[in-house]
Assembly symmetry: C2
Homo-oligomer: 279 residues x 2
Amino acid sequence: MKKLRTGFQGALGAFSQEAATQLLGDKAEVVPLGRFEEVFQALIRGKIDAAVIPVENTLAGSVHENYDHLLNYDVRIGGETNVRIVHNLIAPPGVRLRDIRKVYSHPVALNQCLKFFASNPKIERTTFYDTAGSVKMVMDEKAPDAAAIGSAAAAGMYGGHILKRSIEDDRRNYTRFVLLIAPKRTLAPEQAPKVWKTSLVFTTRNTPGALFRALSAFALRDLNMTKIESRPLRGKPWEYLFYLDFIGREDEVRVQNALRHLGELADFYRVLGSYPKGD
Amino acid sequence: MKKLRTGFQGALGAFSQEAATQLLGDKAEVVPLGRFEEVFQALIRGKIDAAVIPVENTLAGSVHENYDHLLNYDVRIGGETNVRIVHNLIAPPGVRLRDIRKVYSHPVALNQCLKFFASNPKIERTTFYDTAGSVKMVMDEKAPDAAAIGSAAAAGMYGGHILKRSIEDDRRNYTRFVLLIAPKRTLAPEQAPKVWKTSLVFTTRNTPGALFRALSAFALRDLNMTKIESRPLRGKPWEYLFYLDFIGREDEVRVQNALRHLGELADFYRVLGSYPKGD
């Protein structure tokens, strides 16, 4: 079986790696990278075959940086999956909860465990560039009073002991990841999916009612929109790019009709990909 | 003249203070506060009479935290203004550009001066909780090799020397600020404004076409939408809150009709305020 070199941001054991496994199973040969932009660059330069990036979290909202990269780099979305985010307090074996004075993790993870910190006021929060990386660091340093917040996979990867499981405030904590592939590659799904999703980005003319008319291209054809996200348009203050997800596949007739209609109304649009809808 | 105690996040000399001056002139008695949430809390507890918060930047996008607070705290938007963001490199007098090895500022400001850092590779970027606060810190510490990025007002406030003016990558850098008032207060505009804007937040039923129909309440009455922002709805994964700005005043007949129509379609809506449109 040919492996797909699959890049993601963060250290081994990151939630992105779990998403890569959900999307590609054994086919993924994971390549941890430092920053989101490096992931996009590695993909367009052919250093990796695929990439997995987070695009939104049900509590924190969209990962806006990645929306900007989706516009700026010529990549395609080839799949999506949702990962349930469980935050665990992880320390070197032998360190007890009552010894902990410092907890390291990504700022989003720290912010999603506020109840834990409120009931443990002696513990100081310290931000780190990523969750799995904070687990690795705490295991490397072996300080007697430090812990990290990360996934069970990260604990397993670095030999950490889970002092407290699932310390997140809200269990309805999911992150949606998308699989990226270089524009000329195709990725045959394992089995014919029942439901497809399409993602695109567009700008409207800056006229009254322009966004409403652009959305009518989809609504009038009963294409169900699942997400809309706006981002500032560079160089045009107070104008916006819109990122839209809807149920349907690019080569369906009614989707083709909707896209032709959008083309009449939008200043610019680009389909980012059609892919099997995640569970 | 009765002064209005006007809270903002950051140290004296912050861009928010400039926005407060643009909005209230001499009436503003500024109250610097530590975090955005403290600003909202001070306002609802009556510790301040008004507040000024940033809601979006033309390069970085929306300040999502403040959108979340606008929903969670019972405040009204009473005005808006745009501030041109000019980033200056500021150091204690006598420190020369070639001495600088460390530059402190808010991460958004550091990210908006990437060309400066690319052409000065010996300088290390260090994040700080706010721009004006980084200027104050550098002036307090008087290190011979440190500078901060902040406004000319912050340089003046703390006696800093501007080593290099306007080091931002893109001059089309504006931040939109809104003026918040407690819900029962009113704030008479200086003169009858010509154009009004209204901001509201709503959720739709999770059915196909729901957002399109909600927007039709405005589009069918020729109410010009100037911004839409989506945020995750807590407790309902993959459902969204929408924040909408449009041109019009809450007590106009067609706006009243649009709101009644929205009420039929939306699960929930709340008008955040009608206020004179900024320039």
